[in-house]
Symmetry: C2
Subunit: 255 residues, 2 copies
């Protein structure tokens, strides 16, 4: 069992990539929809919420955990690895940073994410830990997640907002733009359109799936389970849009 | 002591109106910033969160409670009055509905709010309970609250989004538009600009303050206290923008 969690249903974009590369692996997913978004909350609160979810997954026999929320990865990733030494904990920030380093040719990378993720400076740190020659430019795009939540992914207003957010990154002549929030793959078309053909827009899900595959962990088989802390029709719709199948979502009441 | 609560800091727009009319009244405010927004959460979750906050305020000697969150008013207002018969509980939906009825001359009222508030149909019900001849048109504007949170109150992109949301309401030729979310008074200029001079844009805070004044309750004096369940620089800034004074915000850890 791999435990995957996110503040909401955005982490399902990571599940989708894992399923592509490791179709036999069983997943327990937790989306903390009762307390989302994490992007504007404090480090202390995000660590508390993340620990509660890891406890929940651990109780359900998950020995491998994927933090599929950039904010939780940024503010609680190392904290969780220290707190749970018996678990193998992967996070989307680390895999995203690796993917960006492998993709860039001009050594100019851009990263976009929530305010909390960007302000944590985690991407600058993780990327420069791998290759200090890479120039990293970052930009918070706090309205992107609400726009995805509202299904405004292909609207002209969304493109206008994207132009405002991405203006400075375009001037930096980056060749790689990392989507540092699991909601953003749903805006990939709009973001790529604004950035132009010379910038490759990448997400962390594929790299995460590759890493899990390379670890060759023996996963217990079982039924996939999808939990949210608050169940609404809205989230069910969004979840189905992402996973493109008739997934069943259950409510967990422990948080 | 009057206890006032909201999912975030938007309820401070209601506090501002109360302070104008009742400058001597002491207020304990709770903004549930660790779990906001409420607008896309279920009835069950919103009732649970609201009860926890009312317990907190009751423990601090508040005998009058103002639910300054439209979503909580809509989904938990009557529930709270039943659960706490010893408390006097006011909610912004009731006062907003009264204000709309008093304002409209053509008996055509529009109401905008979060998805949860609008889907609850509470405004149609409350307004028609007072005067069944009034035609009520509603519109969910789920991106307005995030836009306020991001301080994009006067941007051209916000005006474009407002035009999309308000298009149908304009066609209905309403003469009164009720802002059914405590964040929206910060967008009043943009919203009024889109609606045009023939529509009066009103909020519920002023009516709420009048109601409290008319009740002539003997309030205990004390220092105003402002609590949030998660304290970030972002919320402090927004709170100061709304109350326009050097308010001190404390973190409460009980939720």
């Amino acid at each position: 069992m791999i435990g995957v969690f996110d503040s909401g249903v955005g982490g399902l974009t990571v599940v989708k990539e894992i399923k592509k590369i490791l179709p036999d692996v069983s997943i327990i997913y937790v989306g903390d929809t009762a307390r989302l978004p994490y992007g504007n909350k404090s480090r202390e609160t995000i660590r508390k919420y993340s620990s509660e979810i890891v406890d929940f997954l651990k109780d359900r026999d998950c020995k491998t955990i994927v933090v599929a929320c950039n904010t939780a990865s940024a503010l609680a990733g190392d904290y969780l690895r220290e707190k749970y030494p018996d678990l193998k904990i992967y996070d989307v920030v680390s895999s995203g940073a690796e993917a960006a380093v492998e993709t860039t040719k001009k050594k100019k990378v851009g990263v976009i994410g929530t305010t909390a993720t960007i302000n944590s400076n985690i991407y600058n740190k993780k990327i420069s830990d791998i290759n200090s020659e890479i120039e990293v430019s970052v930009q918070a795009c706090p309205l992107f997640a609400p726009l995805v939540e509202e299904n405004w992914t292909n609207r002209p207003e969304t493109k206008k907002i994207a132009r405002v957010y991405l203006k400075d990154l375009k001037l930096k002549k980056i060749d790689t733009l990392l989507l540092g929030c699991t909601h953003y793959p749903l805006l990939e078309k709009t973001i790529s359109g604004v950035m132009g053909k010379r910038t490759k827009v990448i997400a962390s899900g594929e790299k995460m799936a590759e890493k899990l595959k390379n670890e060759k962990i023996n996963f217990t088989r079982g039924e996939d389970q999808y939990f949210v802390s608050d169940l609404t029709e809205h989230f069910e719709k969004l979840a189905k849009k992402i996973l493109g199948e008739n997934i069943k979502i259950k409510k967990c009441t422990m948080f």
